[in-house]
Symmetry: C2
Subunit: 252 residues, 2 copies
DNA sequence: TCATAAAATTCCATTGAATAGAACGGTGTA
DNA sequence: TACACCGTTCTATTCAATGGAATTTTATGA
């Protein structure tokens, strides 16, 4: 109610309905009317009517046991979104190559507001692997890709990344997102759009030894550079800079 | 207005907003306010307010050139849907194996109302391949998986598939969905849920020679049987039936 | 099995949110 | 420079959304 009712406002009933939609998360993928009413703060009759509209649109489906889950239309729209970015044919092969050469899992993250979502993921074939499925939203403050997306968020067509920023690449994270999870990430830039996302290799910390990390670092940088090139970006074109700095990073 | 305002109805404003959302398709992923107003029939001021709510929820984003596209929240929700079905860990490996052994692309379709959507897809590495990306909605009347999903749609926990139905498997489609596209499909059943989906191999018609088709048929049947088993289903347990009929099918 | 509790669903008078269309402003085109 | 088109803001009217109570359905357990 008192949330954010400012600016040129939308339609309250729609806001409420979509708020209900947002209650469905990985942790709570299935909710009863009572839970929805409680969590949203809307009385049950109101929540129910909103749910009917959501169901008619196929965004929500009712289960046999009188619960609610997200519906098939979300899937259609979600893939429409994924395709609208036109990144998949570029990113997927690069990730696949990374995974083949390292045996760890490769992902591509994109910043959306103050979270990051896993747009693409290629799993390693290892039995032991961490798991951030595609579509998962994670905070910006944790993990190597999070740092990358924060650090380079102000990069756009007019303001390229500084040498100092590039010098710190790739960013390595050990035990941040979870005690046993490690990751190595680097930013991907587009021509005019600036920061597009972050490419990362991740896996169980036990396999990320100093030696292994040193082996993977140049591969991640190379992948980020390849992707940036494919998107028309040029920040990695100063390869001398990156190469020089990169030697430096390896020592650190 | 006169569309469908019957039954225990929901909330009109929400219906309108979600109708706007449904205007975004593969063919028209990007719409201006004018187009939205025209296609939906809502006056521009109304459409604009609904769009504001949709934007606040992250389901729609405005592009730099004053157009609208689906937003990142659809992606999050879409993958939540995909995961809520709990099919991916089961289906994906089977598809991958199919692709490896045949060189064609494998997909898993699910019926949603009177359309089918591609839930999972594993591309072949061949240069020439047809393309139905994940999330794409296709009609039930065309293509091998469409026929499968139609033919077995009445199968549920209480009414198993008849021998006659099973005998016609797998269903082969040549040049139906497009003049150059061929596919081989078979149904997947769950324990109590009945028909869960259809697994299919598809590719350019030129590679689907009678010989190649005969080679692929048992693999598709086997994949469908494996998936059905993994889901607790048992329709393929009458393997004698399937095997016998299958020999018959090969001759046909 | 029936009684009790809890949840979902329906109903309806009140009211304020959504609406339509006109007016405004901005941008590109002839 | 003027015109035409598109997006955006404004506002009085009205009808759709609301919430709470009533009713029905489902779950629990004695």
């Amino acid at each position: 109610m008192s949330e954010v009712t400012l600016k040129t406002k939308g339609v309250e009933a729609v806001d409420k309905a979509l708020h209900i939609l947002s209650l469905f998360t990985t942790e709570t993928p299935k909710l009863s009317l009572g839970e929805i009413s409680q969590r949203s703060g809307y009385v049950k009759s109101t929540a129910l009517r909103l749910l009917i509209s959501l169901q008619n649109a196929g965004l929500i489906v009712a289960t046999a046991d009188k619960n609610y889950m997200v519906g098939p239309q979300t899937f259609r729209l979600g893939h429409l979104y994924q395709r609208s970015l036109r990144l998949e044919p570029i990113v997927r092969p690069v990730l696949r190559a990374l995974v083949l050469r390292t045996g760890e899992s490769g992902s591509f993250f994109r910043r959306e507001g103050n979270i990051r979502i896993c747009l693409f993921r290629e799993d390693s074939s290892q039995v032991l692997r961490e798991h951030v499925p595609e579509g998962e939203a994670v905070g910006l403050d944790k993990g190597a890709p999070g740092h990358v997306l924060s650090e380079f968020s102000d990069v756009d067509g007019t303001r390229p990344a500084s040498e100092g920023q590039l010098g710190r690449l790739p960013i390595v994270s050990l035990g941040e997102r979870g005690p046993d999870i490690a990751g190595i990430a680097a930013p991907v830039f587009g021509a005019a759009q600036g920061l597009v996302g972050a490419v990362t290799l991740s896996g169980p910390r036990t396999r990320f030894t100093p030696q292994a990390i040193d082996d993977m670092k140049p591969l991640v940088i190379q992948a980020a550079s390849d992707l940036t090139g494919a998107l028309g970006g040029s920040f990695y074109d100063r390869l001398s800079v990156v190469a020089t700095r990169f030697d430096h990073v390896k020592q650190g």
